[in-house]
């Protein structure tokens, strides 16, 4: 029978000290192999310059810190944990939400008032699921896409004020959702049937009849160069049929307003912005086509043997892509315009997110984040995660735990404070930062 915990810990420590351990060279070798593997597994971003060779993007003009080092950020509320795994964070307005699995197998939700740190509502279970697929925070609802225990998929529409389920909608892989102010629009990939549901009640607002030329994609027609949002402000629905036709409908009624001439047949990825539809199709490399009410034409072509993994609108008449080399899976980011590729840069390993605001392009999601100007100049090279706060400002959380606001155009940096090193990933707004630590979710207040 053991008698003394301190002695037992001392024994455990001594036995740990006696364990064999490989040399530093082994760790270095493993690190290099990890790097190669990541390179193979992810895509690098490249942007090309047409008519003038390659844009050089190494002019980093990060300014020296004008603000003194700041101390630890003040916490808001208590850390949130449902067990041994940290829940997923999201923010709607002045409320932070945590959704995650509890040891009893249920998925739970908790919420914290970012102003007071108080519980917004008591943490409670939402049900038992095989997994969480998506969490989408919107002003109207907190959307939770789950895989059911039986293998099906369900979208839970939760009331942001109470965390209670208001209604739910079964869906399947490949279905499209578009979020308007009044309604949620759902397109079933199998049939092309498109229906709109009232946010508050889940009752059907309108339904489009299934067409012989089946709808295969449904998107919201975004407008402007504002921060990317899930909600579509323009009120227009853009749909692509199997034959490549493009139909524009009123998002509030489902009524068809116009059909654009031409075709985007063969397109595999689409982005709709400013009354234009950009599509990516196969070519020797890849072909980006643009379509509007006047017709369809080639917008830009990508280098041979590369394929697009992600694309986004990144300014007026500008499309940005992450593309991947088919041979060794090297990823690059590129900006293209009507004149062709404007610039191309190699992307850091594990880059998973391409985001644009104010004409600037952010590559993030990996261990390093890069921000580029419209002309291909690199504005920021930051260890850790970076997200847009506005068109002109980003919020940076470094791997060393330093949190800063950085002016996107000038690189001017304002230190806000620190969180424990390695606290990633984070979501935030101008007032608060929510991050996953090893086991729980923490919220910190950001100085104004």
């Amino acid at each position: 029978m053991p008698a003394d915990l301190d002695e037992m810990f001392a024994t455990l420590g001594r036995q740990a000290d006696a364990l064999p351990l490989g040399p530093a060279a082994s760790a270095r070798r493993r690190g290099r192999q990890r790097s190669r593997r990541q390179l193979l597994a992810t895509a690098a971003a490249v942007v090309g310059l047409i008519g003038g060779g390659f844009a050089v993007t190494t002019n980093l003009h990060r300014k020296p810190d004008p603000s003194p080092p700041a101390g630890p950020l003040p916490s808001i509320g208590k850390p949130i944990s449902f067990g041994d795994h940290a829940p997923l964070p999201s923010i709607i307005g002045d409320t932070a939400y945590a959704i995650g699995a509890a040891p009893d197998g249920t998925t739970r939700i908790a919420a914290v008032d970012l102003t007071t740190g108080a519980e917004r509502f008591p943490a409670h279970p939402l049900g038992s699921f095989a997994g969480i697929l998506t969490v989408t925070p919107l002003p109207q609802a907190l959307l939770l896409g789950v895989e059911d225990l039986g293998g099906g998929r369900t979208l839970l529409v939760l009331d942001p004020a109470t965390g209670e389920q208001e209604w739910k909608l079964p869906f399947e892989k490949g279905d499209d959702f578009v979020y308007f102010k009044q309604d949620l629009v759902h397109m079933a990939a199998k049939t092309g049937e498109t229906r709109a549901f009232d946010w508050a009640t889940g009752s059907e607002s309108w339904r489009q009849a299934t067409r012989a030329d089946r709808i295969i994609r449904t998107l919201g027609l975004h407008s402007g160069t504002d921060l990317p949002t899930a909600e579509v402000s323009g009120g227009r629905l853009l749909q692509v049929t199997k034959s490549g036709k493009v139909i524009i409908s009123d998002g509030a009624t489902g009524t068809v307003r116009e059909t654009w001439p031409g075709s985007v047949a063969g397109g595999t990825k689409f982005v709709a912005q400013d009354a234009k539809l950009y599509s990516v199709g196969a070519g020797p490399g890849y072909v980006i086509r643009v379509m509007d009410r006047t017709g369809s034409r080639v917008f830009s072509t990508g280098p041979a043997d590369r394929r697009v993994s992600s694309l986004t609108a990144c300014g007026t008449d500008r499309i940005c892509v992450l593309d991947t080399n088919g041979e060794d899976a090297q990823t690059a980011a590129a900006m293209a315009g009507p004149e062709g590729e404007v610039w191309r840069v190699e992307a850091p390993s594990e880059t998973s997110l391409l985001e644009s605001a104010g004409g600037r392009v952010l590559l993030t999601g990996g261990e390093t984040s890069l921000l580029y100007a419209a002309n291909g100049e690199r504005l920021l090279d930051q260890d850790g995660s970076v997200r847009f706060l506005s068109e002109t400002e980003v919020l940076s959380v470094g791997g060393d735990g330093k949190v800063a606001r950085i002016q996107a155009g000038t690189g001017e940096r304002r230190e806000l404070g620190t969180v424990p090193a390695g606290t990633q990933p984070c979501v935030g707004n101008s007032r608060a930062l929510i991050c996953l630590s090893a086991l729980d979710l923490r919220i910190w207040a950001l100085p104004s």
Binding site: P2, D17, R30, Q33, S35, G399, P420
Partner: protein
């Protein structure tokens, strides 16, 4: 750069192995987690070496990997065939086996606090800074962790107050 890293590895890897062993209670897993953490450190050494406390970053990597069973299994599988096997570890003592079993009954935050305090001899203030919680919370974790261990081990929970104000079983 290589010399810097190797020196850092030499100075810190034993402590990280203690920590990993305390969290996992498995010699093979602990060895693997430590190698994986340093492999990740090497990938970003240019930046990491500028951190105030790169060792804390390594512990965070170990925390994350150790708290995710599936990721841990993946890490071990991925490298088992690549690395030359290490010499066999001596078998753990009976007390260590019992302590490891008892540790596994505790919440992860308690395990982490106990490992930092009693295997790495970190102060309450250090643990609070590293975990981002008030010192009172750390004391509570330690106290409850020790009480949980005592209960799991069938030890008398005869509490005394230590130098840091933590009441624990003796």
């Amino acid at each position: 750069m290589t010399d810097d890293f190797d020196g850092f590895y030499r100075d810190t890897s034993r402590r990280l192995l203690r920590y990993a062993y305390g969290l996992t209670g498995d010699a093979g897993e602990a060895q693997d987690l430590v190698q994986e953490a340093y492999a990740r450190a090497w990938q970003r050494w240019r930046r990491l070496s500028g951190y105030d406390d790169p060792e804390a970053w390594l512990r965070l990597v170990v925390n994350r990997l150790s708290s995710d069973r599936w990721r841990r299994i993946g890490v071990r599988r991925a490298w088992a065939a690549v690395e030359a096997p290490l010499p066999p570890a001596p078998p753990p003592s009976e007390d260590t086996v019992l302590l490891v079993q008892a540790m596994r009954t505790l919440p992860a935050v308690h395990r982490r606090a106990l490992a930092l305090r009693y295997l790495l001899d970190r102060s309450i203030a250090d643990i609070a800074a590293e975990t981002g919680v008030p010192e009172g919370t750390v004391k509570s974790w330690l106290s409850r962790g020790r009480a949980g261990l005592a209960a799991a081990l069938g030890i008398e929970d005869d509490t005394t107050t230590t130098r840091e104000g933590v009441r624990h079983a003796r």
